[in-house]
Symmetry: C2
Subunit: 196 residues, 2 copies
Amino acid sequence: MATVAWKQLLLNALESNSHLKHSTFFQLATVGTNGTPSNRTVVFRGFQDNTDNIQINTDARNRKIEELKRWPSAEICWYFTDSWEQFRIHGNIDIIDGANPDPLKLQQREKSWFANSLRSRSQYLGPNPGLPRLIEQAQPEVSLDPSTGPVDAFCLLILEPDQVDYLNLKSNQRLTFKTVVSAATDKSWVMERVNP
Amino acid sequence: MATVAWKQLLLNALESNSHLKHSTFFQLATVGTNGTPSNRTVVFRGFQDNTDNIQINTDARNRKIEELKRWPSAEICWYFTDSWEQFRIHGNIDIIDGANPDPLKLQQREKSWFANSLRSRSQYLGPNPGLPRLIEQAQPEVSLDPSTGPVDAFCLLILEPDQVDYLNLKSNQRLTFKTVVSAATDKSWVMERVNP
């Protein structure tokens, strides 16, 4: 199966910006429980197998989980600071936490857990993110066995793109990609060149 | 009047990352007309006079204007790639286009227009952003007189922050700032240290 055009552009951008640590960081926008937008930086954890679905790890105790349960729609804004390319990727997010009833999804969560460094995994054992920090609260020494599977707070998010807007500020080109779903065929993409 | 604490942190971050062109770029999330989140990179155009209000320039023909007219709530996510600091700044946006009835706001729009380079100003004379681009469409040579005032498409956005979330990934510190409005006093901010 051929790689969809926007995914190829994204793979190229990841390659040409790979010397920058922050090239795998992007901003994820969701709609808050009160209907207002939320926006935060998260880390790209690769595509799901051979699909164009985007994987993100998060702490299940974070506010965005509540937001996504209510309204699964999200938009990634990913700006590559060296190649001056922007990808806006819209889609719905599937939340895979430890309570997920699908054994295949639990396997994916486990795989994603072990793909993290031991240091990253230890963060999921820290105090509840966003809650007030007590001054006297000592930082406990967390030691995590490398063979320990995903802890409760570890959550895998999978964003399935349905719309992509690509902008190249060097060539001043802008392309939009939209999914077309028909009963007879798989999901396919339609590309259009638009004014930047 | 003392500078509010989060603004001082932001000024420090702008200073320590000023060697990077992209340090003035941030991601702005809004809620789309269909209730889904939108997210795009925009450029910081300074604070409004001596306030903590954040200025952004945009093309009035962009989709985000429609979105903001319906729902003025927005959240900035601003990640500084050298100092590893993130600012999430939530607030409502005031749209100042050429049809604004307030002469003081029109003055601010004009000031913001002339603060742009001549090249940046010329972009507002280009074809309608986001509309299909015709292959045969030649790029017209745009020549703009330096003394020409703001064109119709030029729009000044002013975000008035009401909540800020600061995260420092080097020191692993996180602070939240919330506004408290009372009838007797001006807007004031309450800071809290929270778990990262």
